[in-house]
């Protein structure tokens, strides 16, 4: 992900002002600029394209509804990702907490790791499946932090802002998330990572 934060923030304020006046063009520009970041967060979280696209749609709808609450001086991207994060949590609660649909992928136990390429294990498709399944087993906050750090490539400071927690908490939760992931992945690889 190429991030061009510098200079962007100055323009974003004028764009936001125009969105406040219901400027369609400005809204489309902002959507264009940030859609991938929102998608990346949502997809990493849900590991599902349709869910991620739903979240993107909802996030921008909510952005439009609440744009009046955005104050100059705030970091727009963090503000937007905060909306996306909240939607992800809500969406997850509504759609996944009760049903077992979430594990509709091939059960992790059935994945055949014996067939994986010994020389290049990380690019086997089953390994991705294992990581994907283990990621979903993490607690919501740990998963969000792991996703934001590794796939959105956000800094701790930004994650702290988006989640509304302290820098130290982000750091320790990230550490816990990695440790838990390693613990979850290890049995399936037959060795410790």
């Amino acid at each position: 992900m190429v991030t061009k934060r510098v200079g962007e923030d100055e323009d974003i304020y004028t764009l936001v002002e125009r969105i406040k006046k219901a400027d369609r063009e400005a809204f489309m520009t902002v959507t264009n600029l940030y859609q991938k970041k929102v998608f990346l967060l949502a997809f990493s979280f849900f590991r599902n394209k349709e869910d991620a696209l739903d979240i993107v749609q909802e996030t921008f709808l909510r952005l439009y509804q609440r744009v009046n609450l955005f104050r100059k001086g705030q970091n727009f991207q963090n503000w937007l990702l905060q909306i996306a994060k909240n939607l992800c949590i809500d969406y997850y609660r509504k759609n996944y907490s009760r049903s077992k649909d979430y594990d509709r992928e091939k059960p992790i136990e059935e994945m055949n790791l014996a067939l994986q390429n010994e020389r290049d294990p990380y690019f086997s498709s089953d390994l991705k499946g294992i990581f994907s399944a283990c990621l979903k087993k993490l607690a919501t906050k740990q998963r969000l932090i792991f996703v934001m750090k590794h796939y959105n490539q956000l800094e701790y400071q930004e994650i702290a802002q988006i989640l509304g927690i302290s820098l130290g908490t982000v750091k320790s939760l990230h550490f816990k998330a990695v440790q838990n992931m390693r613990g979850l992945v290890a049995p399936y690889l037959g060795r410790e990572l």
Binding site: A22, R24, F27, M28, T31, N32, Q35, K36, F39, L40, F43, S44, K49, L53, V56, Q57, F60, L61, Y64, Q65, N68, P121, Y122, F123, L127, K128, F131, S132, L135, F146, K149, H150, Y151, E155, Y156, K171, S172, H174, F175, V178, M181, R182, V185, E192, L193
Partner: protein
């Protein structure tokens, strides 16, 4: 080893390039010295690379999305919804928040509480034991009041007789010259007038309780005082002597004494 434990907490941050420069250098120098930690770090790095395998997955999925079309679709949807549901003002948002369906049980509970509370208050305030006493009526038997009134009349009469007796004694026992002077004085006539007033007050009581004997004597005394107070100013010594004699003849003082004893004996 405690050093290693402390450093291990920073491994993830180290690989994520989130450590401050001095922290990073400190950890690096530890890694150079500690083979255990170095191995641990290598394993962690390998794991992180494994986690990166998902990135390729993400990139592949992202390649499938039409990023040109998506903003147009989103914008269209948002503005379509917007025309159907115009952007909310803060007031609308507040009312939406206050009237959201999931708060309904809370409102129902509150309403029920208020209702029950007011009902309870209503019934407690209506309860008879808290009602204010209507008045401080005292019920006594009818004859009790009668007896009380009789007793009052008796005492009033006794009082009247005693005072009259003193005044008459003053009048009778002193020589006629002095007596005339005495009656001329303001003091005596005032006393007499007071006694006349008192007689007027006890008259109905004497009538009511049929104290005929007492009434008779009291009437005589009254008449005497009436005359005395009426004519005292121009009384001559002879006239006074006549009156003194009259009093003695009629044994008024003796009658008063007898009556007093009689009234004092009977408690009623």
């Amino acid at each position: 080893m405690t050093d290693c434990k402390k450093f291990k907490k920073d491994f993830v941050a180290f690989l994520s390039q989130e450590l401050e420069e001095d922290e990073r250098k400190l950890l690096q120098s530890h890694l150079d010295r500690c083979p255990d930690c170095k191995r641990e770090m290598a394993q962690l790095e390998e794991f992180m690379k494994g986690a990166d395998s998902l990135k390729m997955d993400i990139e592949q999925i992202m390649g499938e999305v039409d990023w040109e079309e998506l903003p147009r679709k989103i914008t269209e949807n948002v503005f379509k919804q917007e025309s159907a549901f115009p952007r909310e003002s803060w007031l609308a948002r507040l009312s939406r928040f206050l009237f959201q369906p999931r708060l309904r049980p809370i409102y129902a509970g509150l309403l029920l509480g208020v209702l029950l509370g007011s009902l309870a208050t209503y019934f407690i305030l209506r309860a008879p034991h808290l009602k204010e006493a209507k008045s401080t009526q005292i019920f006594v038997p009818a004859n009790f009041i009668e007896r009380m009134e009789l007793e009052m009349a008796r005492r009033e009469t006794l009082d009247y007789l005693e005072k009259s007796q003193y005044l008459l004694l003053d009048f009778v026992q002193s020589p006629s010259e002095k007596s005339a002077e005495f009656w001329r004085s303001e003091f005596a006539s005032q006393k007499a007038r007071e006694l006349l007033d008192k007689k007027r007050y006890i008259n109905p009581q004497l009538d009511k309780y049929q104290m005929a004997k007492a009434k008779m004597i009291c009437d005589q005394i009254e008449l005497l005082f009436y005359e005395l107070s009426q004519i005292s100013v121009k009384l001559s010594v002879e006239e006074i002597e006549k009156i003194q004699k009259l009093i003695e003849e009629k044994h008024i003082l003796l009658k008063i004494d007898l009556l007093k004893k009689e009234l004092g004996k009977s408690e009623v």
